[in-house]
Amino acid sequence: MLNKYVLYAIGLTMSPYQTCLVEIPKLANPSNHSPPILSLKDQCWVGQFQAMASDCQVLLEGINQQRAEELLKLAAIETWRIEHKFSRYKAGNIMHQINHAYEKKVAVDNETTAILNFVDQCYQLSDGLFDVTAGVLRKIWHFDGSDNIPSDQEINNILPLIGWNKVHWKAPYIQLPNDMELDLGGIGKEYAVDKVCLLLQKRMSQIENCHILVNFGGDLACSGPRLNGEAWEVAVESYQDQKKAILKVKLSQGGIATSGDSRRFLLKEGIRYSHILNPKTGQSITNAPHAVSIAAPNCMQAGILSTMAMLQGSDAEDFLSAQEADFWVQR
């Protein structure tokens, strides 16, 4: 007669905290990234993974480890999905199909439609300064820290291949002239930040109160203030030294994005050519701030505004002032 009685221990679900790897199914990790890592710092769950050539970080407060692992898993899967779907570098995805259609119409799905509509609005609102077809300039601008500035001839040869207005976009069909390319690199990361932040908020139940900050390489969005009611503190790194924070920013709603030339630039005769290129002229913005950070209701909006501010060169501050948003400029 064995003792058949079992009292279900209800306190054993918590495992000891440790830095743990969160397993992601292979199918949800098409780019074969390392698994996300979850750790605990000052009672805040810190989830980290790689995507879009950035350190991606998700901070979670007010939930237990099991939920933190669950949300981190969700965040990584969503980020990697977006990366894989819209990266210019992945063969076979929708961007690849559009860029290799040779003037054929390509039908796109709902999500791509929404993004292309947004891209179209940004092009109109910026009077053509925000242009997702400007990526071909990469063929002549190589931001490798050298003094290798393209010639006017090279630039003039490539300008005819730039211009969203030359793209035939009528949802759900897009048709690109030969040799033109779409590159969503300018909004992809910000889009992922907002998407992940919203997804995690949506995934929480009504009764849970998880406090979320999503930070992909300096582009951020949060769900609201921290668990203790205070704002998240975000350090903006110096354009000269990425290790050194020069600015402490408080964020309790919406998002922040930064554009700058701190990592990619050319230097010739003392002039720093930023990797922000004017799609209308094909030229690098030489008198732009080193970095512009801007707070906005979401990360995408902050990203577009900061990029546009950089494109204004010496007028960046005036442009930003006109937007009546909080911003921080490094010159």
């Binding site: 306190g11 905290y17 509509n117 006109a322």
Partner: protein, 457 residues
């Protein structure tokens, strides 16, 4: 840009909003509308994933040496975690036991014949052999379900039901629990209550405590057998209460303290256990089986009809920086049967990347129940002074040791196979008898091998 929540850093004031002439048009509102529209539209695209099922299947094999009890136990465990944090757990267990188990009588210098529990037939045990009842055979099916869900940020509840059935036993239970999180979920308080109602229907009916086993082959066997039986079934109820605290001590350590109270009432005997009566008369049979009219006397055991247990439990898990985990626990149990026990358990989980090795050591020590006796003396039998007695080895002074090793291999995608092998040794001690009985091994060791293969997916 990096996040920095603790280090003081130099601060700069940010540009205050300046009113400037409208050199630039204000595009922020239109941009906000466009971006919200994008994010809003795409929100609907994200597919609702309604949580995942997680399954564990395992088969455990338990084999005692000397062809005693052997058991096979397949386990099926399924857990579903819902989006909102609810957890549903369903567990199905089958046990199948075969082999012989001690009937409680002492070994003797003569062969002994016992009536089978059913009253149909008999079995004989050779001289100097530990009496084992070879009819022992049982299978059991158990099904349990548990539902855990958050009530709000700080509270969580659990409700569960349990049922198990074997041919002579039915157990039905309900349990409920409340969990309260404190301290940003670094502390959890647990309150649990479980109720169980069991029905036992012993083969051959319920033996009367300390009644004499009918003598096989006797002319009055049927009448004697009936006289040793009361009803055909009886009941037992158990109430368990648990109070526990789980505390995250630091980034690497978690600790748990539990206090448990268990109250059992009703029929707590093992209906298949008997006691030998040993002759105290000086002479040739001193220390041999006491005989009445030329037949050995064996009595059915008799235990109190209630039991109250208190349990204290402490567990600590410590995670090393290299990913290994040390898990140690201590349990102290004391009850009003006079038993107290100490259990020390230690595991070290050695992380090998895709796999792990987990050595396991366990030590268990128990003091005997007040009414435990290896045998009754003829004086005790004839005077009728003893009201409660059991020779069940599980109520004796006991030490038990477990040495084991588990190996798990992760097959990615949340799948794991694991294999566990353990060696279990149980030793007993106590009164070694008198006269002829002293030459018998009254406390044989139990050695068992446990082997389990499991698969999680």
């Amino acid at each position: 840009m990096q996040l920095n929540t603790s280090n003081p850093i130099e601060t700069m004031t940010h540009n205050q909003i300046k009113k400037t002439p409208p050199k630039f048009k204000k595009i922020a509102p239109a941009l906000a509308a466009a971006s919200c529209s994008l994010l809003g539209i795409t929100e609907a695209i994200a597919q609702e994933n309604n949580g995942d099922w997680k399954f564990d299947v395992a088969n455990l094999i338990y084999a005692e040496s000397d062809s005693r009890v052997a058991a096979t136990e397949p386990v099926f465990n399924a857990t579903k975690t819902y989006v909102d944090g609810e957890i549903l757990n369903v567990k199905l267990v089958f046990d199948s036991l075969t082999g012989a188990s001690p009937n409680g009588a002492t070994p003797s210098d003569t062969a002994q014949t016992f009536t089978r529990p059913s009253g149909n037939g008999e079995y004989t045990v050779d001289q100097d052999e530990n009496p084992l009842d070879d009819t022992f055979r049982d299978s059991r099916g158990a099904l349990s379900g548990n539902w855990t869900a958050p009530i709000n940020r700080d509270w969580e509840y659990t409700l569960g039901a349990y049922g198990s059935k074997e041919f002579d036993y039915l157990s039905l239970g309900l349990n409920g629990g409340l969990k309260r999180y404190l301290n940003q979920k670094n502390t959890a308080l647990n309150f649990g209550l479980a109720l169980s109602a069991d029905t036992i229907e012993p083969v051959g009916g319920k033996p009367l405590g300390l009644s004499r086993m009918a003598i096989p082959g006797s002319g009055t066997f049927d009448a004697d057998f009936d006289a040793s039986r009361a009803d055909s079934s009886d009941n037992k109820s158990i109430i368990d209460a648990l109070f526990g605290v789980t505390q995250v001590i630091n980034a690497n350590t978690i600790m748990q303290f539990n206090y448990g109270l268990s109250l059992s009432n009703g029929y707590l005997n093992d209906p298949y256990k008997i006691l030998s009566v040993i002759d105290t008369t000086t002479g040739a049979n001193y220390g041999g089986n006491y005989q009445n009219a030329g037949n050995n006397v064996y009595l059915y055991e008799s235990r109190p009809d209630s039991r109250m247990k208190h349990t204290l439990y402490w567990q600590t898990k410590y995670a090393l920086d290299n990913g290994d985990v040390i898990d140690g626990s201590y349990r102290f149990m004391i009850d009003d049967w006079g038993i107290n026990s100490h259990t020390l358990d230690f595991r070290y989980r050695w992380d090998l990347g895709n796999s792990y090795l987990e050595p396991h050591l366990r030590y268990y020590m128990q003091s005997k129940a007040d009414f435990y006796q290896r045998y009754l003396t003829s004086d005790e039998f004839t005077s009728g002074s003893i009201k409660e007695a059991s020779s069940d080895e599980r109520l004796s002074d006991m030490n038990a040791y477990t040495v084991g090793l588990k190996y798990g291999y992760k097959l990615s995608n949340d799948k794991e196979i694991n294999v566990r092998a353990e060696y279990y040794m149980q030793t007993h001690s106590g009164d070694t008898g008198f006269g002829k009985l002293t030459s018998q091994d009254l406390y044989p060791d139990i050695n068992a091998i446990i082997f389990q293969v499991g698969y999680s997916f």
